[in-house]
Symmetry: C2
């Protein structure tokens, strides 16, 4: 059975009863597992983590939209995080037995169904986007709910599904497919933020670095050290070990070493296995050789 993860971001982080109702709508959908709910009052935003197959996630997403559109009014919503809709972003992520392209097809099907049922305009992003210029979430979201009506009046910002104007209270939603994100930080053996800044600039795509790396420099005040804080958006094409080695090499340029690295949150097993393969120079290794995988297949 295919396993897909979805991590919808909803524009409500302050009213516990609304968050609970949305969580219940997801949890009560058959064959869906709600793994995590995390709410941020200052962002006024909640992130749900759920898994299931395509049919189960489509049903859960529609149930979630029904509750969110009924309960959230963006005209009175305040919060620090940029947002476009009551349900702001819905990514579908392939985990097991399914491709990124199949998740993109699911995103299109769900987007069409949401637009038809709730009258919310839908923008497709990342792998699901038919338009190269509209793949990037930040570009779609720029201007926020407050600027949405003006933005949508331009022909290049016609939505992929649904009405050509914002939903009056629920705005618009961005739905798409992407690979799992890895939040990966490398702590330098120095307190020099300028060094971390130069390294971040060297490794991130936006300033000429690796294709699937976002990076910035952060000062960890309580430990008095500088950190290169990164998001890896495609660990298959830009693997962790290559990012680590590039940061290490750039740091050497300034006489600085790597103190340690850390993964924040979840990481796909394959991202770590490929690092073991790389450093151990493993040849001809297959995932079927992992005892736990072999056992799972036999049961």
């Amino acid at each position: 059975m295919a396993i897909i993860e979805s991590i919808p971001n909803v524009s409500e982080g302050r009213r516990p009863e609304v968050i609970r109702q949305i969580a219940d709508a997801i949890r009560n959908t058959p064959d869906v597992h709600l793994l995590d709910v995390s709410s941020d009052p200052s962002h006024n935003r909640s992130v749900f983590t759920l898994v299931g197959d395509a049919a189960a996630l489509e049903a859960a997403t529609l149930a979630m939209f029904e509750r969110a559109v009924a309960s959230i009014d963006l005209r009175t919503h305040k919060g620090e995080h940029p947002r476009l809709g009551a349900v702001d972003v819905v990514p579908f992520v392939p985990i097991e037995g399914i491709t990124l392209q199949e998740c993109a097809a699911l995103a299109r099907a769900v987007g069409r169904a949401v637009a038809e049922r709730f009258g919310v305009p839908i923008y497709l992003y990342e792998e699901a986007s038919p338009t190269p210029a509209r793949r990037n979430l930040e570009d779609i979201r720029r201007g926020g709910f407050e600027g949405l009506a003006a933005k949508m009046s331009a022909p290049e910002w016609a939505p992929d599904f649904g009405p050509a104007q914002p939903h009056p209270t629920a705005g618009a939603s961005v739905i798409g497919a992407r690979l799992p994100l890895i939040a990966y930080n490398i702590n330098l053996d120095t307190d020099r933020l300028d060094v971390a800044k130069k390294i971040a600039a060297a490794v991130r795509q936006s300033s000429g670095g690796l294709r699937y790396v976002k990076a910035m420099a952060v000062k960890i005040e309580d430990r008095n050290l500088a950190q290169v804080s990164m998001n890896l958006t495609n660990f298959e094409k830009t693997p962790m070990f290559r990012v680590f080695e590039m940061v290490k090499r750039e740091a050497e340029r300034y006489g600085v070493g790597i103190l340690e690295s850390e993964i924040v949150g979840l990481v796909p097993q394959a991202a770590l296995l490929s690092s073991a393969e790389y450093y151990l120079q493993l040849q001809g290794f297959s995932g079927d050789q992992i005892l736990e995988t072999k056992l799972k297949q036999s049961r």
Copy 2:
């Protein structure tokens, strides 16, 4: 539920009908999964790989002994591999939700039951052995079936369970508990077998190297290169990355590089993850952060 692996070695590799009967006896035991059967006619020996919990593996082992003792006569058995019994060796290996010590307790329970039911003397080995001098399989097996009666007449070779003389046709069996073995080979960027021999001697326990490494040098004729061929018997205490780095450093001493390494057969996931952690200098990483593990826990 606890998952234990057992890899019994049986002294029959030439008569397919006997091998099939033993495989069926294992397969027909409830809650046991027979993952693999591999027979070697020149060794005249078969290796079965099965998994299950303690009760299921005890039942499967007894069913296997019943068939093997009835069908195999070591007085007429010929083969290249050293052996002591019709069922020669039965290791129990902890995979999930169970400790090595619990597998040792299982080995003792199974050994006692086999001795009582079939009159076969049992030697406990590795973690199950109560006698430090008798932990090592090679020591117990030295002399083979042909030398067994003489060996057992010495008080220090009285069996742990069962009669003080060999079973007339089935000899004696060695039962115990150990961690998963990893068959790990490193190919050198040279055809010089003398270099591989010096490296093998440096890294293996028997000549002063790492505690849980067995190593020998092998010439890979068809590729014209020298290999350090190893068994890692405790990947938790002597991890793969440390073995790799030691081989690499020793090779440098002779101006030789590492061409590649290979894992033969199965490897526990944790052995590869610890290598990723080591090289990426990961700090504070927990197995719960692996997406697939998190998913499994939620279901």
